[in-house]
């Protein structure tokens, strides 16, 4: 009757089963794979899009311009300044017999201005600039690659801080309940009533804009939604019998939170992660679009969108940026949908 002798076919933890369910959703799974691939590629963007050659062989010697500055004189130039490898003269020298240079596939960095461009800025897509240039003559593809990286890294950081803050505050309210909960809830109501956008505008006027400042300001307001969900989960779980049993075993509060409540309260947190990511990307993009975001010169999707608005006939700027944003947000949304289905308790048993 209590047949435990037969080996269990699969003794999978609930987290592992959720992962299998997630994997079975092909759209979500491949979205995750594609997204990770894109992020991975953007992390090594210097190898893909760079105005400096990765490796130079010049007159019998090897140079690593990617990591080291060389003066123009090294390659037979006239001035003691950093080499501009897009300079036709330098290119010519590097092509002489015995010399060679290994360029990145897209020979422009995020800040590279091509002083030797053949067309006026912004230039439509050409053989030199595959996606054209923006209104300052920077290569659009390079801008998009680096802009995507900044957006995703910023979104990851913002999601991380927001999630940690949300879990901690939610856990405190939910676990202790009573007066703690009451006081904290009132605080959240007051805090949530603060005009976030005005504060951002004021602060970006007072301080010099930077990614760190943005991160702090957005984190200060980004945790409240999640906090409520974690609080609700804790309030529900803490009066379940397994928590009561742990209490009656004399398990300490901290251990009950860590071992019993946290793992069982993570469903909303995990489900919201992709949606928080896309929210963070959108927030950064819109702030950049308004000119309240990253400092000038930082590659940014929002700034490109505003360029596209200002140069409405330069269709390649707005179209390419729009495509990158849509693809990124779609991938995140597909992941979020799949994750929500995988963690849905009503579907859990069907697995």
């Amino acid at each position: 009757m209590f047949d435990l002798t037969k080996p269990p076919a699969n003794s999978l933890s609930p987290g592992r089963r959720a992962w299998l369910r997630f994997k079975r959703n092909r759209l979500g799974y491949w979205s995750l794979v594609t997204f990770c691939l894109l992020v991975g590629l953007s992390l090594v963007a210097e190898l893909i899009s760079n105005d400096r050659p990765l490796l130079v062989r010049y007159q019998g010697e090897t140079y690593f311009p990617m990591v080291k500055d060389y003066s123009e004189k090294t390659f037979g130039g006239d001035f003691d300044t950093s080499t501009d490898y897009l300079d036709p003269f330098i290119r010519e020298r590097l092509r002489q017999s015995g010399n060679w240079a290994l360029f990145a596939p897209n020979p422009y960095g995020s800040k590279t201005l091509n002083y030797f461009a053949k067309a006026p800025n912004p230039s439509p897509p050409t053989r030199d600039n595959w996606l054209g240039t923006d209104d300052r003559g920077r290569d659009l593809l390079a801008q998009l690659i680096y802009g995507f990286r900044v957006s995703v890294l910023f979104a990851l950081a913002l999601t991380f801080t927001g999630t940690v803050l949300g879990i901690v505050t939610g856990a405190i309210q939910g676990f202790f309940g009573g007066k703690t909960d009451l006081a904290f809830q009132r605080f959240i109501e007051i805090w949530g009533a603060m005009p976030e956008l005005y504060l951002l505008i004021i602060f970006s006027a007072v301080f010099s804009p930077s990614l760190a400042l943005l991160l702090i300001l957005l984190s200060l307001f980004g945790w409240m939604g999640l906090s409520d969900y974690v609080r609700a989960e804790f309030l529900r779980n803490r009066q379940l019998d397994y928590v009561r049993a742990a209490r009656s075993l004399g398990v300490s509060n901290w251990l009950i939170i860590r071992r019993h409540l946290l793992p069982n309260s993570m469903t909303p947190v995990v489900t919201f992660l992709p949606f928080r990511m896309s929210g963070a990307i959108l927030a950064l993009t819109s702030l950049d679009f308004l000119g309240l975001g990253v400092p000038p010169g930082t590659p940014s999707l929002g700034e490109l969108l505003s360029q596209g608005k200002n140069n409405i006939d330069a269709w390649w700027i707005s179209l390419a940026t729009f495509a990158v944003l849509v693809v990124t947000l779609l991938l995140l949304t597909f992941m979020g949908d799949a994750l929500r289905d995988a963690l849905d308790p009503r579907k859990a048993d069907a697995a």
């Binding site: 435990l4 397994y242 009561r244 075993l249 069982n264």
Partner: protein, 551 residues
């Protein structure tokens, strides 16, 4: 039966996706007959009944169900809709969710009448009052305007019955109609069903797991197990001579008393084992738990401005006084809402309370740290085996958790050994090391309800407590499993002379387990004393009702 039956089910099968849950069952119901469909949870009894009206979503149905010569399973949806409610009506387990909370009871019943019989509004209104009065709702003319939440559980179920009877159906499907009700109401509702069945001349199919009800109610009984009908026949015959082993087990599942009896339960608490009587020791045995005037209150919000500054009080337990003797079971009996579970939490030191509560001379302290030693003496097993184990911990982590608190000096392998021993003690697992190692790494969702309850018992017993608080330990389990778990508890008590504080609504469980018993109603103690005295000669009217319903 010579004439053709009212409903003739032939080879009915129900499957969800590729999973067949009902495997071609046959049964029939004659007009004016009371039939009971009996089985444990998961036996397919509810699904079978619901599929007669094609009310199961996403199910593939096979076979035939001829009602009045028409096959219910292949009939067009339009015609079936006419049959539902008019010819075949249904009442559900939980009247609170089966009634629309935003409509008055009267409107809901009138809706059926106007839809199915085409009565005018005024006529329908009068008919509704008659129906409600017929189902025994007092002051029916006023109650028609009540919303479901304004009625008590019993009244709601009566309203449901009135609704089902509105169109004079020829067959009534009653799905666990009394399960959600308190024990004392069950008999009344059942009597009402019998009376209405006779006066309306309809057939009733009662779906239930409660054999006491079946015995009182049904002419015929159909027993289901795992989607098969294993036995059917006249109720008296099946109960007297069950043919199928499953039926035999089901009927024999009434818990059996098998505990060490004590004598000399005197008022002074001086208790001796029967075997100890000869050795004339005068040393009194001390109780493991003494409660005097225990009172537990919950704060309730007050209306208006007053509620900003202070709370009202809801008294959940009032003046409970009792003693739990070593090696004995002290039963606390009462219906839902009587405060018995609150009493359990207070006894565990998990709720603030007033009054005195001594556990072997010690008391609960406000600081959790100082309670650690006491926690080791008192452990708990809860009712619901599904919420009492954390779904994200393995068996080893769950059962071994107490060791981490109370015997943290154990090494990992010692700890594992203790977990294995505890599992074997509660009848889980085998001595086979490899299989056991796998069991330790499994998660609760892979265990059945009875096995989970054993895990909960193992978790409580691993730190060797003297007193175990059992909060409805078996009421969420099927009857056959319930008997096994009770046997395990009796066995453990004999072996380790454990004391139990047993909280239950089930008189049979009390009869099988308890030495002394205390009856609670609405937070107050109604009656207490030795179990045979309370159950055989109940003094209080309420106790008498409880005992009589249990049969």
């Amino acid at each position: 039966m010579s004439h053709s039956p009212l409903l003739d089910v032939c080879g009915l099968s129900v499957s969800f996706a590729d999973n067949e849950v009902v495997h071609g069952i046959d049964f029939s119901i004659a007009a004016n007959e009371r039939v009971a469909l009996v089985g444990e949870s998961g036996s397919g009894k509810t699904v079978s009944a619901l599929s007669l009206l094609r009310l199961v979503a996403n199910a593939k149905l096979g076979g035939q169900a001829r009602f009045n010569g028409q096959d219910l399973l292949t009939m067009p949806e339009r015609e079936l809709r006419a049959v539902r409610g008019r010819d075949i009506a249904m009442i559900f387990q939980e009247p609170m969710t089966a009634l629309n909370p935003l409509m008055t009871v009267g409107d809901q019943i009138a809706e059926v009448l106007t839809l199915k019989t085409g009565l005018a509004k005024a006529q329908a209104a009068q008919k509704v009052i008659d129906l409600l009065a017929e189902t025994g709702i007092s002051d029916a003319a006023r109650r028609v305007n009540a919303f479901p939440h304004q009625l008590s559980g019993g009244q709601r179920q009566r309203a449901m019955i009135a609704m089902a009877l509105a169109c004079q159906p020829r067959l009534l499907l009653a799905d666990e109609p009394t399960t959600a009700l308190d024990v004392s109401l069950r008999g009344q509702i059942l009597d009402l069903l019998v009376r209405l069945q006779q006066s309306h001349g309809m057939a009733v199919l009662l779906i239930t797991h409660d054999l006491n009800l079946v015995r009182r109610f049904a002419d015929r009984i159909i027993v289901m197990e795992n989607g098969h009908v294993v036995e059917q026949g006249r109720t008296a015959e099946v109960f007297a001579k069950p043919q199928h082993p499953y039926t035999q087990r089901l009927i024999a599942s009434k818990p059996v008393r098998d505990v060490v009896e004590f004598v000399g339960l005197a008022d002074d608490g001086d208790v001796r084992l029967k075997s100890d009587l000869q050795s004339d020791t005068q040393e009194p045995i001390l109780p493991v738990m003494v409660a005097k005037g225990l009172r537990v209150v919950y704060p309730t919000p007050l209306a208006g401005v007053r509620g900003w500054f202070k709370h009202g009080e809801f008294v959940a337990v009032q003046g409970a006084t009792f003693e739990v003797m070593p090696g004995q079971t002290f039963g606390i009996m009462g219906e839902s809402g009587s405060g018995k579970s609150t009493l359990a939490l207070a006894a565990l030191g998990l709720l603030p309370f007033q009054g005195a509560l001594h556990l072997g001379g010690k008391v609960w302290s406000a600081s959790a740290r100082r309670n650690t030693a006491l926690r080791r003496q008192v452990q708990v097993v809860f009712q619901d085996p599904f919420s009492s184990l954390s779904p994200r911990m393995t068996v080893e982590e769950i059962v071994g958790e107490g060791l981490g608190v109370h015997e943290s000096e154990l090494t990992l392998s010692q700890r594992r050994q203790r977990v294995v021993t505890a599992l074997l003690d509660v009848g889980l697992g085998t001595a086979d090391d490899a299989a056991m190692a796998q069991t330790l790494q499994r998660y609760p969702h892979e265990f059945s309800g009875g096995q989970r309850q054993r895990l909960a018992i193992a978790r409580a017993l691993i730190i060797k407590p003297g007193l175990l608080v059992l909060d409805e330990p078996t009421s969420a389990l099927d009857v056959t499993v319930q008997k096994q778990v009770l046997q395990l508890l009796q066995h453990l008590q004999r072996e380790r002379s454990l004391s139990y504080l047993l909280i239950t609504h089930d008189v049979d469980v009390i009869r099988a387990m308890a030495h002394s018993v205390l009856v609670m109603k609405d937070g107050a103690v109604v009656e207490s004393g030795p179990v045979h005295q309370v159950l055989m000669q109940p003094q209080h009217e309420y106790t008498r009702i409880l005992v009589s319903v249990a049969g």
